[in-house]
């Protein structure tokens, strides 16, 4: 017991809490599109990258303040989603997934090849921690408080959105689009809003990711990361608010005990991925009827 408390209050515990907060923002916002809207959105990690790079570039090259960086990251991601939504939301089901995956690949390629801006694979080092109200955010405890507040606000906003008229419309059109339209719901607009809000929160998470690691490179925003966030949503049951919170805690913390086993780090990384893959496979198999319901048409 005392060991547990020691771990939780140590730097390692704080690091884990920061990771949990970060993934809470990322996964719950993805839940809005994948869970509530049943839109198989694979561009979430691209929004995350856009947010991270916006903050990294603004704070290193223009010494922009925390407020400006976060505001720009969020707005840029919302704008990015509006553009992407205008194109990909015309597609449905699997085609939408392929469309968003393609967009993700484009962003990934840009991050690697647009060297004059993104510094390519070398990434952007030296991202300063936020400066706010004279608090030292180089102290991880303080940084945890900051990201924790934002994570709680995100959960609160998304909880209200899930239960708001917009969230209800989104769930309705995911279940039976024509019936939703015949109830006066503008299906395209509702999907666009969901896509925009989801992307904006991914941008916020990206911004915090940059601030926390002080260094970013394209490898953090690959397909593997997307699959991990998607795993959280699927394990937590798509559309379930509490389920995604539980799954975030479970999946972020689950591989941690592996660190304490006497295993070389060469095997540790692949073992974690294998564990996630097994969990994902198990959940998809177990809940296959619920995850892939038949869409209703007239």
């Amino acid at each position: 017991m005392t060991n547990m408390i020691e771990i939780l209050t140590s730097d390692y515990g704080v690091h884990l809490a920061i990771l949990v907060s970060l993934y809470l923002i990322l996964a719950q916002s993805l839940n809005l599109t994948v869970g509530l809207g049943q839109l198989f959105n694979l561009a979430h990690v691209a929004s995350y990258a856009v947010g991270a790079y916006a903050t990294a570039l603004l704070s290193t090259e223009h010494s922009a303040s925390f407020t400006v960086c976060v505001a720009v990251s969020i707005s840029l991601c919302a704008a990015f989603a509006t553009l992407l939504g205008a194109i990909s939301l015309r597609l449905t089901t699997d085609y939408f997934a392929i469309g968003t995956l393609a967009f993700s690949a484009v962003v990934s390629a840009l991050l690697i090849n647009w060297k004059s801006v993104t510094h390519g694979v070398l990434g952007i080092p030296g991202i300063p921690r936020p400066e706010l109200l004279g608090i030292d955010f180089y102290d991880n405890g303080n940084f945890l408080a900051l990201i924790g507040i934002f994570a709680v606000i995100t959960q609160a906003i998304l909880y209200c959105l899930y239960n708001s008229p917009c969230g209800r419309s989104l769930r309705a059109l995911a279940e039976f689009e024509r019936a939703a339209a015949s109830l006066g719901k503008n299906t395209r607009r509702t999907r666009n809003i969901a896509f925009c809000v989801s992307s904006a929160f991914a941008g916020l998470a990206g911004s915090f990711f940059s601030y926390y690691l002080n260094y970013i490179d394209p490898s953090s925003f690959g397909l593997g990361e997307m699959v991990f966030i998607l795993t959280i949503v699927i394990v937590g049951s798509p559309g379930s608010f509490g389920g995604v919170i539980g799954a975030t805690l479970f999946l972020v913390l689950l591989p941690e005990p592996l660190r304490f086993l006497d295993i070389s780090s060469t095997y540790l990384g692949p073992m974690r991925q294998l564990l996630h893959a097994l969990i994902l496979f198990g959940v998809v198999w177990w809940k296959r009827d619920k995850l892939f319901p038949q869409r209703r048409t007239v």
């Binding site: 019936a179 939703a180 339209a181 015949s182 006066g184 007239v298």
Partner: protein
């Protein structure tokens, strides 16, 4: 109220509606019958905006609506009840009604779940559920309802939307005989409220009780458009459903 003029609908090479013209006055109840494949549901889809018309015009209260998207037609008072249940089964009964109320211009829906406006919408939804005796199940998932109850919920939901023209696509399909009477009662309620109702139905004895007129479709054309009594006694109806009597043509 509703004016259809020379409506043509085709899917690739299949011509489903071939020049349908028909007008429905406000407060009237019109039955639409015809054999399978005669274009009844396509006609409803065309009016609600789910099947684009190749030619022809649709006017609702004097305004052309054939170029409008389905949700805009719904906002103009067109209510649709689907053949295969248009309710949202994964949602509670209450949420089904809330969805309809939140689309109304006179309802300002609240963002916060505990806000006064949200509570008001919930209270109003409960009164609609009470009217059909489903208030006891308000918080249950709609998938727990029987076929008849689902249909009642869908009709009352369309009423909550504030529609004044109801398109009911086979409201008694998949419904027990006992619930049929409840559905007939809810259709009578719509009539007493002065709503205009179009009903697709196979059971002519069921609809002739409350229809002012019956329109008979065959191969995407209006064959008969008259009072229920005259339509029932018309020889052409027998021919459409049972085929022509060819005995005289035999050698």
């Amino acid at each position: 109220m509703l004016e259809l003029s020379d409506i043509f609908v085709s899917f690739r090479s299949a011509h489903v509606l071939n020049g349908i013209s028909c007008s429905v006055r406000g407060g009237e109840t019109v039955g639409v019958i015809g054999p399978n494949g005669s274009g009844k549901t396509t006609l409803f889809n065309c009016i609600s905006g789910f099947a684009p018309c190749r030619k022809g015009t649709i006017t609702l209260r004097g305004e052309r609506i054939d170029h409008l998207e389905p949700y805009l037609r719904a906002q103009r008072g067109l209510g649709r009840v689907f053949q295969n249940f248009g309710i949202f089964r994964e949602m509670s009964l209450l949420e089904n009604i809330q969805l309809a109320l939140e689309s109304r211009r006179d309802t300002s829906a609240g963002f916060l779940p505990w806000s006064k406006r949200t509570r008001e919408t919930i209270e109003r939804s409960m009164t609609f559920l009470k009217d059909v005796g489903l208030d006891g199940k308000a918080r249950e998932k709609a998938s727990s309802l029987s076929g008849g109850q689902m249909r009642l919920l869908e009709i009352v939901r369309t009423l909550a939307l504030g529609s004044d023209l109801f398109l009911l696509d086979e409201p008694t399909a998949g419904v027990s005989p006992r619930m049929k009477e409840d559905i007939a009662q809810s259709i009578r309620n719509l009539q007493s409220m002065g709503k205009t109702v179009l009903i697709i139905e196979h059971d002519i004895t069921f609809i002739q009780k409350f229809c002012d007129r019956i329109v008979v479709l065959e191969e995407g054309r209006v064959v008969l458009d008259d009072t229920p009594e005259r339509v029932r006694s018309d020889e052409r109806l027998q021919e459409i459903y049972f085929g022509r009597d060819d005995r005289s043509a035999r050698p």
